[in-house]
């Protein structure tokens, strides 16, 4: 498995996490899971191989998506990893621009849209 096929999924809801993982794994991706921004940062720091894409929820306990993104962009090792935000918020495009993400998915997202965004950004 090439490192480009690795995805870091940052999402606080366990059901969404599990379903996304199943979906992505069924498409041949490898998925790293994190339940908030802090856990995501820790796993980036410890990762053997860096993910080719980060799917990022915005509203999470401990560390939200905005803070995570700021810290990720501030770290030269991780700044280049593309990010797709996934949020229930109405102002999706505005949020995407504000956070400087490459992709955006509105919850509840369609699995075809998820897979499209993932394959576009990760390749």
């Amino acid at each position: 498995m090439s490192k480009q096929k690795l995805i870091l999924l940052v999402e606080d809801d366990a059901d969404i996490r599990r379903n996304m993982q199943r979906l992505l794994e069924s498409e041949g991706y490898t998925v790293m899971l994190a339940e908030n921004g802090q856990v995501a940062l820790d796993s980036l720091n410890q990762a053997q191989a860096l993910p080719g894409l980060i799917i990022l929820d915005l509203m999470m306990p401990v560390m939200d998506g905005f803070t995570f993104r700021t810290l990720q962009q501030g770290d030269s090792r991780f700044a280049q990893i593309p990010v797709a935000i996934m949020t229930a918020d109405g102002h999706l495009e505005e949020k995407r621009k504000r956070i400087g993400a490459q992709g955006a998915l509105r919850k509840p997202a369609d699995i075809n849209d998820i897979l499209d965004v993932v394959s576009q950004l990760i390749n």
């Binding site: 939200d64 918020d89 509840p108």
Partner: protein
């Protein structure tokens, strides 16, 4: 703004003084110091502040001013009274209109202050509404997202071209979380509807005989999995079988909400629940030894959409305790909270055993 007004007043006062001095010089070729002391300040006060007393003094001195160039205060009743009376009348009129103007200005200012306060309230209400909408959409869409993913994955796998065999067990396994998410959605929507019922005054109770301990056991059973997932250990002490006449579904909601708050805000702690009777009242206490609530936040915890100051993220709409309090109030009971940071939180609810008529 205020500084500018003051500057303008001072400038006008100075101009009046200078103009008056010029007039005096032109008429009598000298300046009378007494007039300066008595007259001009009165003129200034009367014109700028329309203060009644100064206006009258102004009129009286004005009479003298035109009467005797040497400012001798010579007064002849017969000759001077009509003219003096006219001037004093002017003074009174200035005073009356000035007063009216001042009153009107003050009323205007009060109105403006009130409007400003209303504006602040409105924008706060608007902010709360926006925040609530954002929270509500997030909270509603979270189970919806999980549900949609679950069902779409199931749908994909059950297609004829899918290579994964869907055994009944696997379908079962996929559908169970979906049903749970529907329950979660339903719970959120019920809460929202309750708030709307409470706010429009359509919150009626259906009374029946309820045994508190068995209701509590039912709730604890319902939540069994979530309680252990939250690492909560329950210490339950029931002194006696407390039975009363209450709204069963609503009381269950009270216990549900207190329990789910403990799971959310005090995970991995010990939760002591006790039921007892005291003076024709049932006493329910729910106490955790979690992180507690900051003292200054305590008054707000029963307000709708309050989430203990913990921003977004822990989930929930901030309606649980608001609804608890409304249910307790509807039963003519009372609810108290004791908490301090680091010292856990303790809720105590007192409920009359039978509905009271007052």
């Amino acid at each position: 703004m205020a500084d500018l007004k003051l500057l303008r007043k001072i400038a006008i006062s100075a101009l009046i003084m200078i103009a008056a001095a010029v007039v005096q010089w032109l008429f009598w070729s000298h300046l009378n110091p007494l007039i300066f002391v008595l007259f001009y300040p009165a003129v200034v006060a009367a014109v700028l502040y329309a203060e009644p007393f100064s206006a009258i003094v102004f009129a009286a001195v004005l009479a003298q001013f035109f009467d005797s160039p040497d400012f001798s205060f010579h007064f002849n009743w017969q000759d001077d009274l009509p003219r003096h009376a006219t001037f004093i009348l002017f003074g009174v009129l200035i005073a009356i209109f000035g007063k009216k103007r001042t009153v009107a200005l003050e009323a205007l200012k009060t109105q403006r202050d009130k409007l400003a306060a209303v504006k602040v309230q409105l924008s706060e209400a608007l902010r709360l509404r926006d925040e609530f909408l954002s929270i509500a959409s997030h909270e509603l869409k979270t189970p919806l997202t999980a549900l949609k993913l679950q069902l779409q994955i199931l749908e994909r796998r059950s297609r004829p071209e899918s290579h994964i065999a869907m055994t009944p067990e696997k379908i079962q396994e996929k559908l169970r979380p979906a049903l749970r998410q529907i329950e979660a959605l339903n719970y959120l929507i019920d809460n929202l509807l309750d708030v709307s019922r409470i706010r429009s005054g359509r919150f009626a109770l259906t009374y029946e005989k309820v045994s508190l301990p068995s209701l509590l056991n039912m709730v604890l059973e319902d939540y069994h999995d979530q309680i252990s997932a939250a690492g909560l250990s329950i210490k339950q002490k029931t002194v006696e079988d407390v039975t009363g006449v209450w709204d069963r579904a609503r009381l269950q909601q009270v216990l549900n909400n207190l329990l789910s708050n403990a799971m959310k805000y005090a995970p991995n702690s010990e939760l002591a629940i006790s039921l007892s009777r005291k003076d024709e009242r049932a006493i329910i206490t729910v106490a955790d030894n979690g992180p507690g609530i900051a003292t200054e936040r305590l008054p707000q915890i029963f307000e709708p959409f309050d989430r203990g100051g913990i921003s977004h993220n822990l989930g929930g709409l901030g309606l649980g305790l608001f609804i608890v309090r409304q249910i307790v109030d509807a039963h003519k009971g009372d609810i108290k909270v004791d908490s301090e940071p680091g010292g856990g939180t303790r809720f105590e609810i007192g409920l009359p055993l039978t509905p009271t008529t007052h």
